[in-house]
């Protein structure tokens, strides 16, 4: 208690010291930047997950090739979760003389738990749930193909069902489009018809929905035991690939920015703590000389630091909540349509992390302070002997590593950041030492002011190196945030230019192509791209029928059973890259197929393997000529299997078209759709919008964090300059006494700071370029991303000038130091 009182008294007395205020401000900034971002990120993520849950029809679930055992549902119900079961399978429906292969989903009455099932009947649309027993919902294509209307009877799986409504849209896991026309039937009907029995090709799903904590608990339970054969978890994060990429990148961006500003604050804390320790040295020496035990000195220092840190951290938490709520009201709510509550936990986590940063960065100098020998009271130089290698100084490094590890959420991001920052620190320190060594060599022949400035830097070699390193680290973080992050975002945005195809057309027949193209062009459609589409099955590999082959990958069997989409083209599509083999071109001598990497892995394919496909009545055997890496996040039509046109174009096929049509043409398209009733038009604007909104949202959040980072950067600068202020003042007084002119001191300081700024700016620009290049490729998957060198260099030079100007402004007081000061000091 007494110690605490003493600590509080000490704090009150020392509150006017700039280094203590810097410590408090840095901690506050670290907590606020981590807290705001973590709170916002958590809220955005919750919102995104909620919207993704709408896409899959539940918050989480399981999918398996057989019905999921009852405990999965029982466990969910015990946690107050809603449960629904469904099964998807292909089946042929008949109406009179007509038959049509359908993608059927058999669902119970609770489905969907999330999202909307949109139905149309008798000219009105409504939201609904799974069809009642004895009824079925068919989509427009199925109705047209079977020549049916609402109220008509249709036979599915041997059962006579009534078409209760037209299926307009359904939660479909974010699929761009289904291959076959779709139908929704009652799960019990499907079971009765034997469609889901042993040997069926149904994919069973069990979806649950409820409170996030209960979902997490249920998922933990599910993961705690082996999944049934062939079962996979269904989570919103695992929805459509396009969305998943967006989630990943958004998360990486947000964490990166928060992390960098926290590290910036850490550097400021370290510098301020060093300075505080130096200032406290005589006082501690006196306390020690008067008989205070080392442990008590350390406890007092810790208590003082605690008395400073805890209120600052608490204030940080409150500010994080307020700012995150403000930011959400300004921007967030427009993006995520699902209402979400302000998450309170992340800010507390940020406070804990801020305190860890403070402890890690401030503890070493303070711990050393407790070891000041009592004899230092007689000779200050006794206290200045700092051990060159001090294991305690590993602590901030370890804290930084732990922070990077815990915040980045990805080993790759953590590794790149850690290596880059360490590299920058090392480079800055080395460059500083080399330049200082060089400075000593050239100083004798240089201009007197430059010589003085160089001498000043060289004199404080240790401090100058610390300053240069801290400034470089601060600058590299700022450059990453201010220059590289927006460039990365721009790269991401460019992946989805304004004219990205937003409509897809399925089922276009050969004889409809010319007329349809002409009408689209009259409507103003752009970027029209048509690809042939054949539907077939994989029959054999290297002459062996697939049903006799065994594959290690369980997905292979499913894909072998499925109907496949095959296409052909003479030129490699834009979002594809050949990784093995050679692209066949338009006229290879023998039939060739190009497979994507997933297929290569699933079926253990290699160049030269032969694959046989059954398409309609015909077959085609093709040699694997190349393996492609496909960017599935691009909004282009992509295929796992691409054949060469010379050999494939005779296969029975329809056409698949994609095009961009500015919004506001829905009516004209509706007319087009009525005139070509066999076509399916798919609008992907909603999906595109969602991804674009994520990009915009991340951009907004990055700007927010950038604001904090600039403040943190300013603090680093102030703290770095302040580290040498005392020495500078003493030196200035001495030099004035020895007759140095004020201009001479100012010019010397300008040279000194310009050099310091140059070291910091150049290493930071190099570091940010390298880290950006690496991050772009390894984390954000932007393969052609090059950080913009000119803005980086310009920003680095501008930063150098700012460092010089601020340094000069900071030295104004120093150059005005009265030389009498020395005489008064004795």
């Amino acid at each position: 208690m007494k110690l605490l009182r003493l600590a509080l008294r000490t704090l009150r007395r020392e509150w006017h010291l700039p280094e203590l205020r810097t410590l408090a401000a840095s901690l506050l900034l670290a907590v606020v930047s981590l807290g705001v971002v973590a709170t916002l990120a958590s809220r955005v993520e919750r919102g995104l997950l909620a919207s993704a849950a709408e896409l899959i029809g539940g918050d989480a679930g399981l999918s398996a090739p057989q019905a999921l055992p009852p405990p999965y549902a029982t466990e969910a119900r015990q946690r107050d979760l809603a449960v629904t079961r469904s099964a998807g399978f292909p089946s042929v429906a008949f109406a009179g003389e007509r038959g049509q292969l359908l993608d059927v989903d058999a669902v119970d009455g609770a489905w969907p738990l999330r999202g909307t099932l949109e139905l149309a009947a008798h000219g009105a649309t409504s939201a609904g749930h799974g069809p009642a027993a004895g009824t079925v919902y068919l989509d427009h294509r199925a109705l047209v193909a079977l020549g049916l209307g609402v109220g008509d009877r249709v036979q599915v799986g041997g059962q006579e069902l009534t078409v209760a409504a037209e299926l307009v849209s359904q939660p479909d896991g974010g699929q761009l489009f289904a291959l076959a026309p779709r139908a929704l039937m009652n799960l019990a009907d499907a079971q009765r018809a034997g469609l889901l029995g042993v040997g069926s090709r149904a994919r069973h799903r069990l979806l649950v929905a409820g409170a996030p904590a209960a979902i997490g608990d249920w998922l933990a339970w599910v993961k705690s035991r082996p999944l049934p054969q062939g079962a996979e978890l269904v989570t919103p994060e695992q929805t459509q690939q396009r969305m998943r990429n967006a989630f990943d990148r958004a998360g990486a961006f947000l964490r990166l920015t928060a992390l960098l500003s926290a590290l910036l604050a850490g550097v400021a804390i370290a510098l301020a703590a060093q300075r505080y320790a130096r200032r406290k040295t005589p006082e501690i020496a006196l306390l020690r000389a008067l008989g205070t035990a080392r442990a008590r000195v350390f406890a007092l220092l810790l208590a003082t630091l605690g008395a400073l840190a805890l209120p600052a951290a608490l204030l940080g938490v409150l500010l994080s909540w307020a700012l995150a709520e403000g930011a959400w009201r300004l921007a967030g709510a427009t993006f995520v349509h699902v209402p979400t509550a302000l998450p309170l936990l992340p800010a507390w986590g940020a406070a804990a992390m801020g305190l860890a940063v403070l402890a890690g960065f401030a503890l070493p100098p303070l711990a050393r302070l407790a070891e000041v020998p009592p004899v230092a009271v007689f000779r200050a130089s006794m206290a200045r002997r700092v051990r060159r290698v001090d294991a305690l100084y590993l602590v901030p490094g370890l804290v930084a590593l732990a922070l990077i590890w815990s915040q980045s959420g990805s080993a790759k991001l953590a590794g790149i950041l850690a290596v880059s920052l360490f590299g920058v620190a090392l480079l800055a320190a080395l460059l500083a030492l080399v330049l200082l060594w060089f400075a000593r060599r050239i100083a004798p022949g240089a201009h007197p002011a430059l010589r003085l400035g160089l001498a000043a830097l060289a004199r404080r070699r240790g401090l100058s190196t610390v300053q240069a390193t801290a400034l470089s680290l601060g600058l590299v973080a700022l450059l990453l945030l201010a220059v590289v992050a927006p460039a990365l975002l721009e790269g991401w945005r460019r992946e989805l230019p304004a004219d990205t195809p937003n409509w897809f057309v399925l089922n276009l027949q050969d004889d409809q192509r010319a007329d349809f193209t002409a009408r689209l062009q009259r409507l103003g459609a752009q970027e029209l791209n048509m690809l042939p589409l054949a539907v077939g099955k994989l029959a054999a590999i290297n002459g062996k029928p697939v049903d006799q082959l065994h594959f290690a990958d369980p997905r292979a069997k499913e894909w072998a059973d499925r109907q496949l989409r095959l296409s052909w083209t003479g030129t490699l599509p834009p979002s594809n890259r050949v990784v093995t083999g050679r692209w066949a071109g338009a006229h290879p001598p023998d039939a060739e197929v190009s497979v994507d990497t997933m297929w290569r892995d699933m079926f253990a394919l290699k160049i030269g393997d032969r694959m046989r496909f059954d398409v309609g009545e015909g077959t085609l055997e093709a040699t694997v000529g190349s393996v492609r890496q496909v960017d599935w996040s691009s909004f282009r039509v992509n295929f796992f299997l691409l054949l060469d046109p010379a050999h494939a174009s005779d296969l029975p096929h329809t056409w698949l078209a994609s095009f961009y049509l500015p919004r506001g043409h829905a009516d004209a398209l509706a007319k087009l759709s009525r005139d070509y009733s066999n076509l399916s038009l798919v609008d992907v604007d909603a999906l595109l919008d969602r991804v674009r909104e994520i990009v915009a949202q991340v951009g907004g959040a990055v700007r927010w964090v950038l604001g904090f980072s600039l403040l943190a950067g300013g603090l680093v600068l102030a703290a770095a300059l302040a580290t040498s202020a005392a020495e500078r003042r003493h030196e200035a007084a001495l030099l004035r006494t020895l007759g140095a002119r004020r201009g001479q001191l100012r010019l010397a300081a300008a040279c000194e700071f310009a050099l310091l700024g140059l070291i910091a700016g150049l290493t930071a620009a190099l570091g940010a370029f390298g880290a950006g290049w690496w991050l772009g490729r390894a984390v954000f998957r932007l393969d052609d991303f090059v950080p913009p060198p000119v803005p980086l260099l310009a920003s680095a030079l501008a930063a150098a000038v700012v460092i010089m100007l601020l340094g000069l402004a900071g030295t104004r007081k120093v150059t005005r130091t009265s030389p009498m000061r020395l005489l008064r000091e004795g």
Binding site: P444, G445, P448, R451, R459, L738, R741, G826
Partner: protein, 231 residues
């Protein structure tokens, strides 16, 4: 001792007043003195008598509130700080009680400092010579923390003499040293004063040291109690 007609350093009716928390405070009042080239001159007095303030005024570190000070024939009170700095660089050397060596500089670099300010190319050689003169050539690469108090003060003396000043101001130069070391340092100061014909102005409350000076004044509460006279 015959005095040259023009003193090198002259103070006429100098006073210094500052504003403190309790209002106006007269630190010096009506101080007059004259020091000629090559002389050694002591300013003595009790703590708080205004010795250091007077030294600062005489060296041009500060300006008097009233009165006039001439150094090398130049009126200090009429010059701005820049001009006084220029004058100091050319004419003045300092030795302080606490040595005031820069801790990050070696002995040699500390001594080079005034020469570097002048932009002289032979700074290193002259610093060597100066350290030689104070018997510390072998320790020129040592940092202040590696030197004893006496050695530090000898480095400070070398720094004060290295650029050949006409006046050397010393503020309690032996105040931080033991008697024996203090005597050695004082010997050195007076030897350099004699050999280089440098004027020495010394602030001290050590009567023995003061007694070694040619002349001096004693201050008491900011006034001259004992006028300057040949000793």
């Amino acid at each position: 001792m015959s005095e040259p007609s023009q003193p090198l350093l002259e103070a006429r009716d100098v006073s210094k007043t500052v504003r403190g928390p309790e209002g106006r405070l007269d630190i010096l009042a009506g101080v007059s003195l004259a020091v000629h080239a090559g002389e050694s001159f002591a300013i003595v007095g009790a703590s708080g008598s205004g010795k250091t303030t007077l030294l600062g005024l005489l060296a041009g570190l500060d300006v008097p509130s009233t009165g006039a000070i001439h150094l090398g024939g130049q009126p200090l009170q009429a010059m701005d700080e820049e001009a006084r700095a220029d004058l100091r660089r050319r004419l003045v050397g300092f030795v302080f009680q606490s040595f005031h060596l820069l801790p990050a500089l070696t002995a040699e670099e500390n001594v080079m400092l005034p020469l570097e300010l002048e932009g002289r190319d032979d700074a290193r050689q002259r610093a060597h010579d100066a350290l030689d003169a104070v018997g510390l050539h072998a320790r020129r690469r040592h940092y202040p923390a590696q030197l004893s108090g006496g050695e530090q003060q000898r480095v400070a003396i070398a720094r004060a003499f290295v650029h050949g000043p006409r006046v050397l101001f010393a503020d309690e130069p032996t105040g931080n040293l033991d008697q024996r070391t203090g005597r050695h340092v004082a010997d050195l100061l007076f030897a350099l004063n004699r050999d280089h014909h440098t004027t020495l102005v010394l602030v001290t409350h050590d009567a023995q040291l003061a007694a070694r000076c040619g002349r001096g004044v004693e201050l008491m509460e900011g006034r001259v109690a004992t006028p300057a006279a040949a000793r």
